[in-house]
Amino acid sequence: MSQEANMRRVTAIKNGTVIDHVPAGKALSVLKMLGIGGYMSNPVSLVMNVPSKKMGGKDIIKVEDRELTQNELDKLALVAPDASVAIIRAYTVAEKMEINLTNEVVNVARCTFSNCITTNPREPLPHRLVVTKRDPLELRCRYCGKTQDIEGLVDNLL
């Protein structure tokens, strides 16, 4: 299926953000990471498991009337590090943004290890996950040193 056919599955948006090249099946995790849920008034379009030359299969998300910030985008590095993001204004791509995976992911998610000192929500120091490998992504908690369950991190977003 062509790129054009993929994009026709949902209509073009006037203003907002398009997140393309999300790994197939990860769109719901991405929405969760961005805090986008049914309680919002912005229209959100979601296409899952569509063919992609580059990735085999992929998901696409369109969020209307909301421009994601760099800080929000960097959270996506945990589940969709190669996603491409476009800010749309008046039906045209106004800005292309990149997701940056820094060496340390600070205050994005809480360590997934149940006996880590950071599981006490009243402890005030930042949550720090150190990137120990990029492909495949591996993170360890700065404090307890435990390798993180990436899927579990989605449930531990701050």
Binding site: N120, P124, G145
Partner: protein, 316 residues
């Protein structure tokens, strides 16, 4: 201020330098002479879970060097039961003391405290994480017995999953080129991330469930206690724990200089018949906790241990 949270906080050269200092401090640790290198300094002992040897040896070490100690005491009578965070506790003790020794049931607590404090933190055990000050005394014991840390065959046996002493020790041994064998029941194997870290250091790690088969080629056998509460039922515990017990009769084929170590307390994993063999080293190891911690505190507080301790020290 950097402390000692994991063995990665010390280079091999620093480890050797601390062990050399400890060697010179032996007469002070034994109480044969007085050398108040840490006079006027205060150690904060923060033990959030039970400890006998670690807490007492830290306290002895500071007092042998002329310093003083304040204790958190029983957690049940401290502000911790009122819900005080670790961060707040550390802020307070940081102001009272010059150096802190800490044990905490939560993994990562020592690094967390280190990031919260200005004074050096010494990790006396954080959950099933690390126990590097134990490693320093273990290395001291091994070096005193074998004259070197390099190239030895070391068998770590028992509960390798939850036993924090073996986590820290295995890191250090591999850095000194030791051949490390992990002998444990399948359910208590060394955690994957630690094995992965050791392999990054170029170590060839052997994992087995056969302890007895390792005895004859070992230079060091490091036993740990298998804890009953790790098993779903008592039958399973009895079956597994039975395979990780040493008796004097098992040692007939051992090398003459092979030593048996244990962080203590032991329960049944070393039979009392082993105590009178030339291989038993665990009580000397427990004593070495004092001298190793003396040298470590000097290092972290920037105090130089004199080359000639006999000349610098006084008679008691």
């Amino acid at each position: 201020m950097p402390g000692l949270i994991t063995m990665d906080d010390l280079t091999n050269e620093e480890i050797i330098s601390i062990l050399d200092d400890a060697e010179r401090l032996l007469p002070v640790a034994r109480g044969e002479m007085y050398l108040p290198l840490l006079q006027g300094r205060i150690l904060g002992n923060l033990f959030f879970e039970p400890s006998t040897r670690t807490r007492m040896s830290f306290e002895t070490a500071m007092k042998r060097l002329g310093g003083n100690v304040v204790n958190l005491g029983d957690v049940k009578t401290s502000s911790v039961v009122k819900g005080e965070t670790l961060f707040d506790t550390i802020q307070m003790v940081d102001g009272y003391t010059d150096i802190i020794a800490m044990r905490h049931p939560r993994q990562g607590a020592a690094q967390y405290a280190c990031d919260s404090a200005k004074v050096p933190i010494m990790n006396g055990g954080d959950g099933a994480g690390h126990h590097p000050t134990q490693t320093m005394l273990d290395l001291f014991t091994i070096r005193r017995s074998h004259g070197t840390l390099e190239g030895l065959n070391v068998v770590l046996a028992g509960d390798l999953r939850y036993g924090r002493t073996v986590h820290s020790l295995s890191h250090a041994l591999v850095r000194f080129g030791c051949n490390v064998t992990f002998a444990s029941p399948d359910s208590l194997r060394m955690p994957e991330e630690i094995v992965a870290d050791l392999k990054v250091h170029g170590a060839e790690v052997v994992e087995t469930d056969d302890l007895i088969g390792q005895i004859n080629s070992a230079d060091v056998i490091y036993m740990t206690r298998i804890q009953k509460e790790r098993f779903p039922d008592e039958d399973e515990y009895t079956k597994v724990a039975g395979a990780y017990k040493l008796h004097a009769r098992d040692l007939d084929g051992a090398k003459a200089e092979m030593i048996i170590m244990h962080p203590l307390p032991r329960v049944e994993e070393i039979h009392p018949s082993v105590d009178s063999t030339r291989h038993a080293c665990y009580f000397e190891q427990a004593f070495n906790g004092v001298v190793a911690r003396m040298a470590l505190m000097c290092k972290l507080l920037g105090v130089t241990v004199p080359e000639d301790v006999n000349e610098a020290g006084g008679v008691l």
